[in-house]
Structure formats: C-alpha cells, structure tokens
Subunit: 245 residues, 8 copies
C-alpha cells in the first residue's frame, strides 16, 4: 500500500524458514530476557506508574532475570517496593541518577569499552547520571566531566584531555544545547547529544537544545529530551565494539 | 527497556512454533501480494516519485498481481508509463481521482457492502474520488453526495436520506472540517472524517480540519490530511463486515 | 459564501418536507435519549466538572434513560454523587477504566459483535479499559491483549492468534505509537489506533504517537489522544455490522 | 552567568598551557584540513549556494585536501563547476546520492569497519545513498537493503540476516518512521535512525518520523530529517572502532 | 523603515494641532476613567496577581471611578480585599462568572441593545457568564441559552427562536468549536465565537476550537481562548449601535 | 456523548413543529440564495479551483441570484469565464481587490451604515480592498485610510479624525499586527482586526499578527489571516444595525 | 481593560501640553523624514511588492529625503525602477546585500562608531551584507569577518583579535546558530545574534538558530530570522553611543 | 563539514600563538571570575536547583568573587542558604526582583551609563526589577516607568519625557507585547524588548509577545521570554559605551 513490493511464493517460504532457524538459534534466547539478547539490562520507567503496580513489575523482573533497574523513581515508588522484597534481592538507590537497582547476584559483567560523559551545567547532571548507570550496567567503564559549559572553553579543553581515550562521548546540555556540537568538532569518536529540559521561555523545555543539536554542523546523533537511559545504552553498544558476548 | 515484560523459554518456543504454523497457514499466502491477504489492491503513491522509477514499479506490480493503482498521478508519470505497457495491460485514467488503474484482467470482485461518501465543498471532491476508487477496487458499492456543506443544512438532510442504507460513511471536509461531526451525530453507522487541505491562513493546510475532527463530540475516527486512499480502504474493510474472502 | 451552491425553491420545500417526515419517523425518537437513536449509552466526562454539578447531571441522566456512564472520575466526584443516589440506582465503579456506571435496570442489550483491544505497554491500559467499558455497554463482546509492544514481536503474533476472529481491533499505544500500524499490516479487519499520552520529551504527550499513526503506511484510522471512549464506541458501531436495532 | 563556576588563576594557567601543548601536538594538525583531524572528508552542501560561489569553494577545497564531496547538487551546480576543473581533478557524479566527488588522487583509505544501511521504502533511497557515499569515503565497507518496510516483516528478517555482521546500522524511513525502532529491537549493534521527508499531510515533511524515532522504546539515536551525510559520518566513526588513524 | 512614508512639515503641524484640539474636546475626557471614554467598565484580571497587590488596585479603581470589576477571582483574592473595603463600597460576588463587582453607587446605565449568548456545553458556561456580566455592566440586556450543542440540532433551533431579536450573538464552544459557525449560518446578525479550553488531547486547550472558528465558512469573528471579557465588551459595542453616550 | 442532555418527547415535537413553521416563514426563503437570507452576496473563492469548474460555478450563481462575486481571482480564471458569459451578464474586474463581480442588474441596495477600513502598510491593501468590496456589495458606505502604520502615530490620529463617524472599523495589519489594538484603544466603536501574511521569518506568514491581535489588551475581534471577505461581511452586519431588510 | 489605570484631568492636560511642546521641539522634526529623527535611512522592503508600486514608492522617498534604500530587491524591481529615475538620482546596486541605494547627494554623514559583523558560514553573508549596508548608511565604520564558524575555533579567535575594538558585534548564523553565544562569551561589548534561514529539516528555516540564541547562557539579544536590516540599524544605534546628532 | 574552510599550517600556528598571548594578557584574567572579564556579576538561576546544592554553589561563588546574585529565588532556597553564611557575607533580599545578593564588600563600582526600564502592565514588574538589579550591579544608573501600557498613550509620552536622557531602553511587555515597538518608534536610542509570560489562551505564555517583537517594523532587539537578567546585562553593556574597565 503506498509502499509497493512483491516477492515470489518461493522466496517467501525461504525467508520464513530462515526466520524460524534464526529464531531457534538466536532470537529464542532473547526471550528469557532482553539482557541475554542485547546485553542490556531490564529497565522500568517508574514515572507515571502507580507505586503498587510498579512494585509488582519490578519484583517479577528481578525474579526473572536477576537484575532490574528503575529510572525516575519517587520516594513513593521505593516505599511501595521495599516491604515486598525477599531477602535475597538487594536494592541499591542511586540518588544522583534518580534510579534504583534490584539484583540477586553479582554486578554486571565487565564487557569493556569506555564511555565519556560531559554536561554543560549542573542541572544536566541527573540525566548524565542516568546514562552513566546504564552504561555501567552494560559493563562499560564510565568517565565523567560535569559543568564544562561553553562559558569557560578552556575548562572544556582540559576536561577533554582526560577523556580522550574514550570510545564514545555522551554530552548532555539544556538551554541552547551547544556543547555537544563543540565536542563533536574536537574529537574523532562518536558524540551523542542529549537535550535536557532545563531552559525556560521560548522552547525552553529542551526543544531549543534538541533543535540546535539536530541542526549542528558537526557530526552528532541525538536522543529524546532527558533520555539518559537511551544515551547510555546506545553509547554502551558503541563502546562494546567488537566485544560481542 | 522502559517497557518491561518477560516470558519463560517454554512460552517463547510455543509462541514461535505457533507463529510458524500461522505463517504457513496464513501469512505465507500474504506474500504473493497484499491483495490476497487483505483484499486490498496494490497502490502506489506517484507524488514525489521520479517518473521513470514510477513506471518501472507500476509495471512490476501489475505483472505480479494483475492489477495496480497509482494515486496523485501527474501527466509526466503517465507519459513515462504509457510507452512501456505491454498490450495485455489496460490503463484507465480516473481524472477526478487523480489516479490510474493498470489491469490485465477483470475488474475487482464484488465482495459487497456499501460505502457512502460525502464532501462539504467542491474542492474536497478529488480526495473523495480517491476514496471512492479504492473502495470500488475493494469490491464495494459506493454512493456519493458532494458539496453538502453545513451552510445549507437541509441539503445535508436530503442527501443523508438517500445514503442511509450505507454500511459506513466517509466525510471529506476542508477549512473548519465540521461536516463529519454533524453527520456522525445523525447516523448510527461508523463515520470516517477526512481532513482536506483546502483552507488558507491559520492552520489552513488541513490542520484545523484535523484538529476539529479529533476533538469532535460525536463518535468519529479520522485519517491523515488528504488521505483518500486510507479512508476508502478502511471504509471497505468495515463494509465487508462478515463477508470475508 | 466561499462555498457556492443554490437550489430552487421547489427543491428546498421538498427537502424540508422530507426532513419533517424523517423527523417524525426518526429523529423525534432520538430525543428521548441518544441511546435510542445510536445504540449508544449516555456518557459524561467527569474531568473538569465541579463535583456538585457533576452529581446533578449524572442523576438527571440516569433518571431519564435508566443508565449512565461517567469517565475520568476522581474520588471527589464519587463522593459528591453517592449521597444523592436513590435506592433504585446502582453505582458500579470500574477502577481500571477510571469510570463509573449508574443504572436502574439490567445491563446493556447484547447486540453482538466482537471487539479486540490491544495495548503496547502497561501504561496504555486505562485508556484501553475505557474503550472496553463503552464497547461492552454497547452490547459487544470484548477480548483484550495488553502489553504486547513491539519489543517482543512473537508475543504480538501469539496474542493476535487469539483475537483474530474479532470484527474490529482497537490498538492503544503511547510514545512512538508503532503498534497499531503493525497490527494493521497483519490483519484484514479494521484497526483503530488510539494515541496515549505516556511518552516524555519531544511530542511526548501523545503527539508523536498521533503523528506516526496518521502517517502509517498500513490502513488505519485514529481517534484523539487518550480517547478511549471514542475508540470503544466507534469499534462497537463497526462490530454491530448489519445487526441494527 | 546563570551557569556558575570558578577556577583559581593557577588552574587556569595550567589549563591554558595544557591546551597549548595539546594544540601543537594535536589540534594544529587539524587545521590542515578536517580530513586529517577526524578522518572525515570535506563535504559541501550545494543546496542553497549560488552555482558560481559553489564552484569556487569546491575548487579551493579539492586543491587543499585532494578530495572533496558535494551533496544535494543540481545540474546548475555541475555546469558551473565543470569548466573550471583543472585536468588533474576527477569529477565523479553519484546520481543516486545527488552528490559529486572531486579528487586528484586515489580513493579513500580503507580504514575498515562495516556499515549496514536499510530503507523502509524506495523514496528513502537518495538519503540512504548519501549516507553510503560518506561512509565509503571514510573507508568503510557498506552493505544495503532497500525497501524492506514494515509491511512485509519477513522481508525485513531475511534482509537483516545478510547484514547482521555489520558494526552499525543506518535505517532511513519517512512517513511514520517505524522501521528503525523495529530493527533496533532485533539487533544488538547501534542503530541510527534517519527521518526522511517523504510523507504528506500532518507532520508529513519528516516530523512524524523524527518524533516517532525520538520516542522509540528501543535504543536508537537519530539525526536531522534527510541528513544522510550526518548518518553516514556518524556510522563510520562507530565502525572505525579501535582502528584509529 | 521597511514601511515607508513621509509628510510635509506643514501637514505634520496641522495634524498635531488637530490632535491637540481633538484631545481637549474628546480624549482628555477619557483620562478620568476609561468608562467615560468607551462606555466600558474598569476591569482587572485577578488571575496571576498577588492578592495584596490585587486588593490595592481594586480599591484605587473603585475610588476613582465608582465601579470596578475583577475577573478570574480566587477566594484568596476576595479574602485579601474584604477587610480593606470602606463601608460605602459594595462587593457583589458573581460566582458563575468567577468575578466580583465593587461599586459605590447605582448599577450601570441602561444604554440599550440586546446581546444573545449561547454555549455548546455546560463547561463553557463560566466563560459565557463572564461575557454576560461585562455586557450587562455596559448597559445591555442579555439573553442566554446554554448547552445547545450540535448533538441536538433541534434544541438549537428552538433556542435561536427565542434569541432572534438580539442585536448580536456570542457563542462559546470548546473541543471542536463548531457551534458558532452553525449559528452564523442561521442568523443575519453578527456572531462572535469564543473558543473555550475544555477539550483534551490534540490541541485540546482551545486551539482546535480557535482554528475551526477562524477557518469557518460562515461569517464569524473570534476572540482569544476563554476571553469572555473581550467577547462581552465587543458585543456590547455592537449592541449599542447608534446609541452613543 | 460527553455532552449530556435530554428532553421530553413533547418538548421535542414542539420544537420540531416550531422549526417547521420557522422554516416555511423564514428559512425556505433562504434557499433561493443566501443574499435573501443574510443580506449577503454569493461569493466564490477562486483560489485553488480549476478554471473551468470555476467558470461553471460562477455562471450558475449569477443566473440564480443575479449577482455573484469571486475573490482571489487569477488571469486564468477570468480567461475561462469570459467566453461563457451571456450578454446580459456584466463582469467588473476589481484589480486592487483581486476580485470580479458578475451581475445582471443594478448594483447592491444601499442598506446604510458606514464601515471604516485602515491598513498599517501598503502591502495590506489588497486584503483591505477585498473587505471594502464585500461591505459595499452589502450596501454599506466605506471610507478608507491606508498605510497609517504605527511608525507615524500622528498620521493615525489625523486619519481617525476623518473616520470617526463610522459604525465599525476594520484594521488590516501584517508583521506584528499592532495597529488594530491601538485603534481599539482610541475609538468606542467595534474594531475588527485582520492579520495579513506580509511578514517574514518567525511566524511571519501572519501568525505573529494573529497572535498579537488575540492577546490584545484592548477590545478587539479577529478573523482568519488574509480574510478580507469575512471582515467585510462581518463589518457590514454590524453597520446594518437596526436596518434589517 | 484588564490593565487598569487612571489619571486626574489635570495630569492629563499637563501630559498633553508636554506632548505638544515635545512635538514642536522634537517630534515635528521627525515628520520631515525618519532619517532626521532617528538618524536612520528610509528603507523599503522590495520583496512582496509589485514592481510598479515599488518603483513609485522609491521615487517618492528619494525625492522627499534625498536618499533611500531598498532591500531584497529582484531584477524585476530594478527593471521597473530604472526608466523612471530622473538624472539627478544615482542608483547603486549592492549585489552582495541584495539591495539598492538611491541618492541625490552625498553619502551618509560619518557619525562614528564601529560595528563588527561575523558570519558562521558563507550562506549567512547576504544577511550580513544587508546589516553592513544599513550600518554604513547610518554613518558607522564596519569591519567584517565571514565564515568563522565554530568548526575551527582558532579561526574565530584570530578574527576576534582584529575586531575587538568594535563598539558592538553582529553575528549571523544559520542551522544551529551557535556562534553568537560563543562570541558573547568572549567579548565584553554587546553582541546581536541574527538567525539565518540556511538549515534544512527540523526547524531548519532559521527557527533552530532563533531558539538556541534566545536560550543562550551568555548575554545576547536577537532579531528576527534573516533580519539584517534590523541588526544593522540596532547596532548603529549602539555604536553612535553619546554621539547624538 | 558542510561548512568548508581550510588554512595553512603556518597560519594556524600564528593564530594559536596569538591566542596564547591574548590568553595571558587577557583571558587568563577572566578565569578569576567573570566579573573581571566582562564587568558582569556572577548570577545563579535558583529556579530548578535543589536548595542544598543551590546554597553550596552560592557560597563558593561569593567566596571566590566577593559578590554573587541569585534570581528566581524561592523561600526554600533562602532557608537553605542562611544558616551556612559566614558573618562577613551580607545577604540582601530584593523581593520585587525575586532575587538575592550576597556580598562581602562594597556595592558595585559605578561604571556609569543610564538604563531606562518601562513595563506595559503591573504584571511585568518582576521581570523589569530583575533587569534593574543586574544593570545596577553592573554599575549603571537605572530609571523606571512601570505600567505605561498602550491604553493610555499620553501616559507613555509623559513617561518617556523623563527617561529620554537614558543611553538605552528596556521595555517589558506581556500579552501582545506592543509597547517595545512603539517606544522604538519614538526614541533614537537602542530599545530592548522583553516578552513576559503574562497572557493566557493562544500563545499566551509569552510567545505572542515574542513574535510581535520579532516582527516589529521599528528597530528592536529581543531576549528570551521573562529573561530580565539578559536584558539588564545587555543594556548595561550598551550603557557602558566607551567606559571600559
């Protein structure tokens, strides 16, 4: 419909057969938990979920995969969750990232790769910390340099010097969102921009930052406004490089 | 990821097995052409396609499925297509719908069901005609009443009287897009609103009509601005009712 | 004005005469309650109504038609309503749908037809439940499959297998709103997309989902963001098919 | 200002000194051409540039760095450029990518890494070809699978099977822009979404695709609408992985 | 500047002289209070004003002109005001209009003219009542017909019959905002549309209603969303007709 | 639905009966042409209409009602129309208004009332002339003062002095659209703002003017961007005042 | 109205008297031409004006004030103007600025002050040249540094060193519009940002640049998209400083 | 990339050397505090900052530079700060500006220059007071005239008479934001418009004011909505004129 295309019956059958094999060899494993398939942890967005429902989902997740993260967690969410936790489940509260980690066993496997995370201002830190948590959970080393906004460009240079060996850069910035483009003009590794909703006035809820990152002259990819989780997971995928499970 | 869920390995395998069977029984048939699966014709959106590429796609389609429609066709598209057509392919030009139909055999199977199409003004007619063509290609009877805008409400009443036996109503309207909501308040069959880009000024490219249809108090579903094709196909699906292939 | 048209005086008189008869035969019946005319229940949107006024409207409605529904109900609304209810009125609280049903007699007439309702995630469930309530009140059977988001496509296939005999599908999805288009590509019955306001960031209040449903390649009609009521009533109209009152 | 921070004079001096060294060791080299610094070719956006000015810029670039690309090139641009070219400069016209390559010497260094590029429809191909050209110019191997839109999901599966060894995926999609999220749900390598301006009606100039990619549940980064260049260069940076110059 | 124009010195002087005379004869009188100039009451928008500051402004106004209205008043505003009122100032609370009237003397002069006010639903009534208060304060007779929405079109006809002698119609409507255009198609007096912010979802805060009123085929002027005050004052200006002070 | 309401069967019948009488006495007359009902001429928007179709509509209109106007007319529209005109039809081309008038008899009845029309700049004149034409066709006297933009405020004062006896003011303004609010602050008659699409850059297609008119502190009603027709007809309705047909 | 205020009759008269005197002393002089009042040239925006009308306006202006500028001039405008020019009027065509200057006498008075103008890319130059022309016409010295985009930050530093003695900086930038904020972070003189419509895709017509300039952390004021004229005149007002006429 | 440019190695080195010297002579001084570099105070935006973090940042700032301002301060911010303050730090609460000033020594150096600040209404005063505080902290004299909205144009004239010796004007206005353009048409000094978020309805959160200021015919620069700080600092930069530190 409006997107043409056709295929012979033979081809169709072959494709499906291929799919089936592929599923048994590969995708079926996925279904025991996304962490097996993509090397990604299970992550639940707490915001907007009723605390009781949230607690039940978290419990089910940690039982199924041994490890589970929740982001944008409020005190009410934690209160609803805590009494339900069996003794073998450990709850770790990462306040700076507004997140919690439930786990029954060891920490994440160190798959390797290094992710650098920068923020333009101090208000961008919670989003950066969410990205950091996810990248660490995916087995990466993370180095950070916060509050290196454009205002003091020499501070940026000195911060970059420490971070340069990283495989990939995440740069979180609100208001005009300029920093990611500048970093991308200075390093030769992939740079991911995260617009942060810390402005005010015209397009101040992160839209100005999003727009300026999308229009940037330098080479830059972006994620949704405040999407620390996506940035962290995407960066970890890059940092893993050839190091597949 | 942000959308939790887990499933046991057994369940996963069962699901996949089920899928495989389903595919052999059902979806594989799909792949010989969408017209088999959904009772829908192959439709190509000519607009924005380079005439040469357009002609090649159309030829491939009509050879594969014996029947193919193109919408939003310009004279350049037809010129590029005509010399390539083998003698057994018939080209029908539906000017009012800005469409062409290629076919090698009979017309569409009369699957039954009646679709009523109304327009608020005369400028909405091309979109209505596109919907009409698709619904007819899907085997429905179509009745139309054009230019029955709100201005003369008695004209609407008299038009509706003729159309009332229809299984479903399509109402195309530009500018403020009021007519679909009014029709939906008067009949007890499903009414599909099609916003048309015939206004000017503030939100005049169909957005005002879209917004007013989405906000309508009466029960109404909508399709994209100017999307005659979608409206016609959706209406035909409703009109088919129990009459499955 | 700007929409031309004229009609002879004779035609005008005939039309009006026709209208008058139509009104006596048909529309007058309407006025004893919309439920008679369209097979639809009386539904009051509680949100934004002062609790006292809300209670008075509900009472008047249930007395007039014997049955009345309120959606998006807060505890304050119920508190204001409960002391006013005469003994013969039964109040049913559907928490999952954030709705209440007032009735003096039997449940809705089983007019027949089956509506399938799917959601992409768990946050879409309240909107789905509102649609379910309305479709049931209009006499349809409803089957549901919640949380079958794109992430696990095999879960979708297995869910669809159970739902395939349905006359019509409602698919509620927030964030990117992809699921309705995918379902519409797999089944040959009408699919209604309901965008849900469960995202965040750029166009996160349902607009991204609305836009992607309107632009979908597959055949799909949509309703307003979070409009469970409209989706349910529209689906019931389709499911009724030839089964007119 | 509104972004606090201070630093001692000593620290400042050290930072500047560090910067200076860094510049001599590193950034100064940059200035002989971006291709040295970032392993990226010089690329000029022809669109919107006056043909004469465009020709002069291209000549200067190719003389300085031996290789230069122009995207979104019109026949007028090429006409203005051709008479000015000295014999040692070769002009290659990549029509599918709407681009030209000027060079005086060999092709790009094979730095390694594989980039997979998919498109949902045929209209997305020019953007995909622009990405392909850039990635190849940056020394990557590129594999493509075009027109594998959601409609026929098995076609996607069979296409993915061939592409799975890639280091990174670019997925270009217009209209509702669903494909990138689906691919990202199936592979464990980074996926870059490119919204394409091939829709119509509401948010049809690529905005719907952009919004749905940003809201996607699966892990995905995006670039600007139609930004084939950025997607290609970003993907190449990922594909290079540890293979620094 | 970008808007050219020039005038001789003589002309300029004459114009200024004329202005001066005009001012003495006419505009100077204005300055003792707007109510003298335009036959309009002093009106203060309470919303967004600190209660203490609000109370001081109201007191100053009523002392200066003997009569003063405040709209969008909260209980806090009234609490802050009441203890400050001298005995000769009467406070009238118009709850339905969310307004108060302070006065030291008689009610407004009956300047004549009749304003008809309709609303589509019950949620539009507060905005309608604000308009009613202002029109009455400006000396007009006001007739109302509330909740005559499109759903029951015969109810509209019967309401209009009672209102037809009015000099001007105000029609307030939220959601799709259809009613004003329909009324304007039925009467030959000026109709003013007031969009009301009672919808939800896409453009639900009154924008859909505003857009559909601006695009209306029938002859209609509009005011800002929820702007009951402006609608009432504008209608009164029309209703006054030749009856100047 | 979502807008409750009920009515007894008796009331319904009475209302319908009333309606019927009203229709015979009143509305039936309407149907011989809107000019009878509302004192408004038949007006056809030429823009966007195919020239041939346009010509046929115009002919039908002028035959039915003896007088017909077309706005936004291109040379192609006039060329298509001219050969079809019978000798008794006179075509008048109003270039400044981009309009034509077809008539078989006398000019419009002088119903009385005076409309003043101002523009801020010279680019606003075509919209103003369209308003002027309509108001004159509806039997009003029209006085104009063009290019009296804010820049030279004394020019405005001197212009207003000549126009002050008018019953109503139309003020057309592009760019920031300030003039209508200023005029409304100086006169005690109704002022209608017409936003004009003469700006550039941010919201330059009339949206900035529309927004500033809707937000104006002074009492002002607005019509759609460039809607000279609506402004003229609305003003004439006001100017007619008690002078009903 | 909604903005209260009153004033005694005495105060009013005094104010008016003051105004009159002020007018005689000051504003009356204005009326012989804006260039006298504000030290600004008469400027006509050619774009959107019919060539004949444009030519007449230009002639009138140059006769009245001896000097007149037109911006955004097309060849058609110049063709219409040239034959009408009397011998004493000189026409100067500034191609880079898309402008013409008509004059009968000397060039502009050198009032003093220095304006620095930077652009990020080459596509921003026409807007910069328009600003330059206006600032020079207002008697300022102008220094420029074009194409100093962020990419090569050392180029910016070296450019700034030459420009630092300027009284004010204009920085024109399209796409992400970052450069003005960076310059504002480096100099202690006022910096004016001019967004340029040279991007593409999401907010690519200058909106992204506008938004990022408005959100900038550093101290920056902005003008409309592409508004070279406004930037130039505003900068000249600053550069004049104490040097009043 | 997409913004070409190259430079010889020699040039690059020279530029960097120049930069280095410049840094030692100039920029290094910057780093002891922005107040040294730009004559600007350190300003912290309290809004959106956690009170504890806010307090720590303020303390660090005042210790480093002896003087520090916070804007948009809530009582919670002050409560968190007060107990931490050492005796030598003085806290001044400027309620009207919603700001506090911390200082250890004298007030700001009187650098000279006069800034005039006007507001259209009383709701615009907090934004104006924020601008005033900053300009005073930067050593300027500030004169204000509040609530001189368009309604009473003579009040504006009398206010301007007192302010005319100012070097620069800040005009804050909400709703339609007309006042800055009017002031800019009357004075020959730079005028800075500040849109204020005091409207309601369509674009009522300051966007209408922003748009009308950007589109203004008169010469005007603008800052972000509610950006009192930016307006004050920008105005002070202008007022300083030649008076460099």
């Amino acid at each position: 419909m409006y997107c043409s295309g056709e295929i012979s019956e033979d081809e169709a059958m072959a494709a499906i057969e291929g799919l089936r094999i592929e599923m048994i060899d590969g995708m079926a494993r996925i279904d025991t938990g996304r962490s097996v398939r993509c090397g990604m942890p299970e992550v639940v967005l707490a915001e907007g979920k009723e605390p009781g429902a949230f607690a039940r989902i978290m419990l089910a997740q940690v039982k199924a995969s041994g490890r589970c993260i929740a982001t944008r967690v409020s005190p009410e969410h934690i209160e609803a969750l805590q009494p339900l936790l069996p003794p073998e489940v450990r709850l770790e509260h990462r306040e700076a990232a507004r997140a919690i980690v439930l786990s029954t066993g060891e920490g994440p496997d160190p798959r390797g790769g290094t992710v650098a995370i920068l923020t333009a201002g101090t208000s961008d830190i919670p989003v950066a910390e969410e990205a950091k948590l996810i990248a660490e959970e995916m087995g990466c080393e993370v180095r950070t340099a916060y509050d290196v906004g454009v205002a003091g460009i020499h501070r940026l240079f000195s911060a970059l010097r420490d971070l340069i060996p990283a495989d990939v850069f995440i740069v979180a910035a609100g208001r005009e969102g300029t920093l990611p483009a500048i970093v991308a003009g200075l390093v030769d590794r992939p740079v991911i921009g995260v617009p942060v909703s810390t402005g005010y006035g015209y397009m101040g809820a992160g839209e100005a930052a999003l727009a300026s990152m999308l229009q940037a002259c330098s080479v830059l990819a972006v994620v949704n406004i405040d999407a620390g989780f996506t940035a962290g997971a995407f960066a970890a995928q890059i940092a893993h490089g050839g190091r597949r499970v």
